[in-house]
C-alpha cells in the first residue's frame, strides 16, 4: 500500500486513527489499590490511572503489520525475523556489555551480519552474480529475487538499535511488541526516514499527540501527498515520455529537459513521501527528525548531503564514517567507503556505484581543493552546484550503463544525437507551468510561510483555522481528483 492512494486515504487511515483514539492511552496502575491515610486514621482506596501506551501501541503494531502484509504478504516474515534477531541480540549485548565487552560486540556483530546478509541476498545477490558472470571462467545461473519493500529501511533500523545499545546510547527493550513496533511503524516502514532507536525509544512509551501536533501532522501529510501526486507524478510523465526508449537518439535539449524534470521529480517524490511519513507520525504523537531541508538551495555538494535524505547521511556518518576513523584517520579512504555504500544503498547497479563515486570525487575536490571558498560566493555557488546535481541524477536514472553514457554524451555535446526535437520541446513547454511551480517550491518559502501561520494559532486562531482548513481541503480535493483520474502513480524510492 502506498500513502498516496485512495485505499490508504479512505480505508486504512481513518480506521487506524479511529481505533487508535478509541482505545485508552492509560491503564490502571499495577498495584491497583493504594492506601492513603487521611487525617482521621481511616484509609481510602485509590486506584490510579497511569499513562500507558500499550493499547495504542497494539493498535499501531497491528495496523502496521496489516499495512505491510498488504504490500508483502510473504516477506512480512522477513521483517519479523529481522526484528526478532535485533531484539534477541539486545539481551546478549546488555548482558555482556559491561563485563565482557568483546562478547557484547560479538553479539552485535552477529545481528548486524544477519541483517546485512538479508539485505545482501534480496537486494544485491542478483547484481553480484551478474557481475561475476562477466568473468570468463564463471558459470553461475542468473538470480532474480523480488526486493521486499522497505528492506533497506528496516534492516538499518534494527542495526541502529544494536549499535546504539552497544555504545550505551539506548536502553534495552525488553518488550518484543514494542521493538517490533519500532521496526515496523507504518509511517516510515516503506520509505523512511530511517529512524534511530535512541530517538524513538522514549516515544514508544511516552508520547502525546497534542491537538496542535495533530493539526501539524494533517497539513504536513497533505502537503507531502500533494507534492507526490500533483507535482512528482506530473513531472514523471515528462521523464517517462522523454526516455521511454532509453537515451538513444533523444535530442540533446530533450535529454536536459528530461534530466531537469527527473531532478525535480525525485525530490518531490521522496521528500513528499517523507513529509507524509512525518505528518502521519505526528498524528500518532511521534516526532520524527526531518529528512529533507530544501536541498536545492545548496551551495556545495557537501551542503547538499546535509540537506538530502538526512537520515541516511547521518546513519552512514555515525555508523560507518566515524567508527572507521572519520576525519582523523585515513579520511579519504573513509569517505570512499561511505560514498560507495551510499551509492549502492540506492540500488543494486553499477550506475549507482558510479553515482556514489561521482559524489566522492566532488566532495574530495570541495574538501581539499576548494576548501569552502566556493560556498562563500552566493549565486555562483548555486549555479555550479545545480548542474552537477543534475548530472548526478542522469547517472542515477539510467540503470543500464550504456544508456547512462549515451545520456551523458548527449548532455555534453558528444555523440550524434540531434540538438532539437519539436515534439519533445512541445511536451516540455506544455509542462512548463508545473516545472516552474516545482522550481519555486524548492525555495524555503513554504517553511517560512508555514511557520508564520503556525505562529498565528494562539494569537489569531480564527485566521489560523481558516487558512488551515482552506489549505487542507484544497490539497485533499486536488489529490483525490488526480488519484481518481489517473492510474499513473509510480513511487521511485519504492525499490529500497
Amino acid at each position: 500500500m502506498v500513502f498516496s492512494s485512495l485505499p490508504f486515504l479512505f480505508i486504512f487511515l481513518p480506521i487506524c486513527l479511529i481505533l487508535y483514539y478509541a482505545v485508552p492511552g492509560w491503564a490502571w496502575e499495577k498495584s491497583g489499590v493504594v492506601r492513603e491515610k487521611s487525617g482521621d486514621g481511616t484509609g481510602t482506596c485509590v486506584k490510579r490511572k497511569k499513562k500507558d501506551m500499550r493499547f495504542k501501541n497494539a493498535v499501531l503494531l497491528l495496523m502496521s503489520l496489516v499495512f505491510y502484509t498488504a504490500g508483502e504478504p510473504v516477506y512480512v516474515i522477513l521483517l519479523v525475523l529481522c526484528a526478532l534477531a535485533g531484539w534477541l541480540s539486545g539481551f546478549l549485548i546488555e548482558k555482556y556489555r559491561d563485563q565482557s565487552p568483546k562478547k557484547a560486540k560479538a553479539a552485535a556483530v552477529i545481528c548486524v551480519a544477519i541483517c546485512l546478509s538479508m539485505l545482501f541476498v534480496f537486494k544485491y545477490l542478483g547484481f553480484f552474480i551478474d557481475t561475476l558472470r562477466l568473468l570468463p571462467f564463471v558459470d553461475l545461473p542468473s538470480v532474480k529475487l523480488t526486493l521486499p519493500i522497505g528492506i533497506s529501511f528496516y534492516t538499518f533500523q534494527t542495526i541502529s538499535y544494536d549499535i546504539d545499545l552497544l555504545k550505551g546510547k539506548a536502553g534495552l527493550q525488553r518488550n518484543f511488541g514494542r521493538f517490533l513496533l519500532f521496526v515496523s511503524l507504518f509511517p516510515q516502514l516503506t520509505a523512511g526516514p530511517i529512524l534511530r532507536y535512541k530517538d524513538i525509544e522514549a516515544q514508544l512509551t511516552d508520547r502525546t499527540a497534542t491537538k496542535e501536533k495533530f493539526c501539524e501532522g494533517i497539513t504536513r501529510f497533505l502537503c507531502g501527498c500533494a507534492k507526490k501526486v500533483l507535482i512528482a507524478n506530473t513531472l514523471g510523465e515528462l521523464v517517462d515520455f522523454t526516455f521511454s526508449a532509453g537515451a538513444e537518439g533523444v535530442a540533446r535539449a530533450n535529454v536536459w529537459f528530461g534530466v531537469l524534470a527527473f531532478s525535480l521529480q525525485i525530490y518531490y517524490d521522496f521528500s513528499g513521501y517523507s513529509d507524509m511519513a512525518i505528518g502521519l507520525g505526528k498524528m500518532f504523537g511521534f516526532d520524527y527528525a526531518e529528512n529533507f531541508n530544501y536541498p536545492y538551495v545548496s551551495r556545495s555538494i557537501t551542503e547538499f548531503w546535509r540537506r538530502w535524505h538526512i537520515s541516511l547521511g547521518s546513519f552512514f556518518r555515525d555508523y560507518v564514517y566515524i567508527p572507521l576513523g572519520g576525519n582523523r584517520r585515513h579520511q579519504v579512504l573513509n569517505l570512499l567507503v561511505v560514498w560507495l555504500l551510499t551509492g549502492l544503498w540506492h540500488g543494486a547497479g553499477w550506475n549507482f556505484v558510479l553515482w556514489g563515486l561521482f559524489f566522492f570525487v566532488l566532495l574530495i575536490i570541495e574538501k581539499f581543493i576548494l576548501k569552502g571558498r566556493l560556498e562563500k560566493i552566493p549565486a555562483l555557488s548555486n549555479v555550479v552546484t545545480l548542474p552537477l546535481l543534475a548530472v548526478g541524477w542522469a547517472v542515477f536514472y539510467f540503470e543500464d550503463i550504456r544508456q547512462c553514457l549515451t545520456a551523458l554524451e548527449s548532455m555534453f555535446g558528444f555523440g550524434n544525437a540531434p540538438l532539437w526535437d519539436t515534439v519533445g520541446a512541445n511536451m516540455f513547454l506544455a509542462k512548463l507551468p508545473v516545472i516552474l511551480i516545482a522550481v519555486a517550491g524548492c525555495l524555503p518559502l513554504g517553511k517560512i510561510v508555514g511557520k508564520k501561520i503556525a505562529a498565528q494559532r494562539t494569537r489569531r486562531p480564527v485566521l489560523w483555522f481558516t487558512l488551515m482548513l482552506l489549505y487542507s481541503a484544497t490539497m485533499l480535493f486536488l489529490c483525490v481528483c488526480s488519484l481518481v483520474s489517473s492510474t499513473y502513480n509510480p513511487f521511485l524510492y519504492f525499490r529500497f
Binding site: V74, K211, V484
Partner: protein, 504 residues
C-alpha cells in the same frame, strides 16, 4: 492574560474541529466508497470497470489479490466522473499549448466492451429498397462527395443545397475497371520480404499517444517493419492457400496521416510509406490504394475529430477503390438516404478528456443501404454457436448508446452475418477490426452474403478456436477481405494483429 487564555481555548477548539473534519471526511468517503455500488461499465471511458478479485491463497501470497483489490477500488470510487473532469480542467489550466498538443497514452487493449441493447432491428420487409420521400428524421445537409479527378468532364452533381433540399446527384459514371492481370506463373510460396528503401521502419522513436491539433484528435502511428513482414506474409499465405478466391488487403491510414504537423507523420510515423512497403511485398493479393483514395478527398469529412475512426464517407471512397480493383460496380452515394446522429464524442475524447475536443463534437452521417439486409451476430467468443445469432441493424441511425459508432453493424462483435438483396451471386468473408464497421454497409450492395469476423473477440487458439479453414470449407465464399487500419496492421503488440496471425 485572559485574552491569551481565551485565544488558546479557541485555538484548541478549532483544532478539534479540524481534526474531526479530517477524520470524518476520510471516514465518510471510505464508507461511501464501500457502500455505494458503482456499475460495471464506465460509459465515459468506454470500458469495463475493474472487478474485485476472488480471494485465493495463491493470489494472496503472490500479491495479486491486494493489487487487484486496490485497482478495483480505485476504479469504482464514487463521483469518479466529477473528479476526472476536475482533474482535466485543472490540467488544461497548467498546460501551455504550443500548437499541436501531444498526449502520451499507454497502449492498452481495452476490455471488450459489450454493447447494451439498442432496440429492435428493422426487419427485412420494412427496409425500403429506395429512398422514400418522407421518412422521419431526414437529413438535408449530408456532406457531398466531390468528384475524383477521373470523373471530371462528366455531369457533376450540384453542390449548392439549401437547408430544405435533399442532395441531388447525377450519378457519375466511374471509369471502366482495369481487369486484374492474370499472373503468368502462380507463385508457390510467398516472396521474401523486401525492406529496401523503407529501413526507417526498423527503428525510430515510438510516440505512443494522441496529438490534438486544430480541434482534431489523432493517434500517432509508429510503424514497424516487423509487423509489415508478418502481415504481408500472412496475407500472401492466405492467397496461396485459397487460390481460387480473391484475397484483398484493405489497410487504411488514420487522420494523423493527413492533418497533423510533419513531425507526427514522417520517418517511422509515415503511414503512406508503410502502406507502400506493405503493398510492394504482397504478391497475389489485391491491394486497393486506400491512401490515395482518401488523400484526394481529405478536405471532406472523411475522419472524425474526436474518434479514431473514419467516417462512412471516408469508407465510401475506400469502397469505390475496392470496387475498381475487384471489377465491381460501386453504389452511388447520391442515391442513398442519409440520416445523422449529432453530438458524437468518440474514443479520442474519452482517452484524453480534452476540453478542446469536447467543445466541437462530431456528427455521424449514416447512409442507409439501398439494398435490404438481414444482419445477425454472435456475442460470445468461444467457437461460434451459429444457431444463437442475434438480430441487429446494419445501420441504425436511432442508436443512442454511449458509443455512437456502434450504429454501424452494432459495433464490434465476434461474428456477424449479413444477407442482402444485392443479387450479385457473390459472397465475402471479412476479417476486420472496427474500421470495417462503416465499410460493411457499402459492401452490402455488392455481395449477397457477408460473413464478418473480428479476430480480437474470438478464440484463435485452443480447443474452442474458430477455424477459418473449416468455415471456408463449409461456406461459399468468393472474396476474403482483411480490413484494418495502419495502427493495428503495422504494430505487432495489439490483440488484432495477434489474433489475425493465429487465425487459420
Amino acid at each position: 492574560m485572559k485574552k491569551d487564555e481565551r485565544s488558546k481555548r479557541i485555538a484548541e477548539l478549532l483544532s478539534t474541529v479540524i481534526i474531526s473534519l479530517f477524520i470524518s471526511v476520510l471516514a465518510v468517503g471510505g464508507v461511501t466508497s464501500l457502500l455505494v455500488k458503482s456499475g460495471d461499465i464506465s460509459e465515459k471511458e468506454q470500458r469495463n470497470l475493474k472487478k474485485y478479485p476472488e480471494f485465493s491463497w495463491s493470489s494472496f501470497f503472490d500479491g495479486s489479490f491486494f493489487k487487484e483489490t486496490e485497482e478495483a477500488y480505485n476504479d469504482r470510487f464514487p463521483l469518479r466522473n466529477l473528479f476526472i473532469d476536475t482533474a482535466e480542467s485543472i490540467r488544461e489550466v497548467v498546460t501551455i499549448k504550443t500548437g499541436p498538443e501531444f498526449i502520451p497514452i499507454a497502449n492498452e487493449d481495452d476490455d471488450f466492451f459489450n454493447q447494451e441493447e439498442y432496440g429492435t432491428p428493422v426487419p427485412w420487409e420494412d427496409q425500403t429498397a429506395s429512398p422514400s420521400p418522407d421518412s422521419g428524421d431526414r437529413e438535408t445537409e449530408a456532406p457531398t462527395p466531390e468528384p475524383t479527378p477521373e470523373d471530371q468532364g462528366t455531369a457533376s452533381p450540384s453542390k449548392t443545397e439549401g437547408p430544405d433540399e435533399t442532395p441531388s446527384y447525377t450519378p457519375t459514371p466511374l471509369p471502366t475497371p482495369t481487369p486484374t492481370p492474370t499472373p503468368t506463373a502462380p507463385p508457390s510460396s510467398p516472396a521474401p520480404f523486401d525492406i529496401s528503401g523503407y529501413e526507417v521502419f526498423t527503428g525510430g522513436r515510438q510516440l505512443s499517444g494522441v496529438v490534438i491539433e486544430n480541434g482534431r484528435g489523432m493517434e500517432v502511428f509508429n510503424g514497424t517493419a516487423e509487423a509489415a513482414e508478418g502481415y504481408t506474409l500472412y496475407l500472401q499465405r492466405l492467397a496461396l492457400k485459397y487460390s481460387e478466391k480473391r484475397v484483398v488487403s484493405v489497410v487504411t491510414p488514420n487522420a494523423c496521416a493527413f492533418y497533423s504537423s510533419s513531425e507526427y507523420r514522417t520517418e517511422n510515423h509515415d503511414q503512406k510509406a508503410w502502406l507502400e512497403l506493405a503493398a510492394k511485398n504482397m504478391q497475389g493479393v489485391v491491394v486497393p490504394d486506400v491512401y490515395g483514395a482518401l488523400a484526394s478527398h481529405k478536405d471532406e469529412y472523411i475522419f472524425f475529430k474526436t474518434d479514431h475512426h473514419w467516417t462512412a464517407l471516408g469508407a465510401y471512397y475506400a469502397y469505390r477503390e475496392i470496387c475498381t480493383e475487384l471489377g465491381m460496380d460501386p453504389v452511388d452515394i447520391g442515391e442513398l438516404e442519409t440520416r445523422k446522429i449529432e453530438g458524437f464524442l468518440g474514443s479520442i475524447y474519452n482517452k484524453t478528456n480534452s476540453k478542446t475536443l469536447e467543445s466541437s463534437p462530431d456528427t455521424i452521417y449514416c447512409y442507409m443501404p439501398k439494398v435490404r439486409t438481414i444482419a445477425r451476430c454472435n456475442q460470445s467468443r468461444s467457437a461460434l454457436n451459429l444457431s444463437s445469432l442475434k438480430m441487429i441493424d446494419t445501420v441504425n441511425p436511432n442508436y443512442r448508446g454511449s458509443n455512437l459508432y456502434v450504429c454501424f453493424i452494432a459495433g464490434d462483435n465476434p461474428y456477424t452475418e449479413i444477407t442482402t438483396s444485392a443479387g450479385t451471386g457473390k459472397s465475402c468473408f471479412i476479417i476486420k477490426n472496427s474500421y470495417a464497421n462503416c465499410l460493411v454497409p457499402w459492401l452490402c450492395h455488392n455481395y449477397d452474403t457477408l460473413y464478418i469476423l473480428d479476430p480480437r473477440h474470438v478464440n484463435t487458439t485452443g480447443d474452442n478456436r474458430f477455424s477459418l479453414e473449416g468455415f471456408l470449407g463449409s461456406h461459399e465464399v468468393d472474396d476474403i477481405i482483411v480490413v484494418s487500419h495502419t495502427l493495428f496492421a503495422a504494430t505487432t503488440d495489439n490483440i488484432f494483429y495477434a489474433g489475425l496471425m493465429r487465425l487459420s
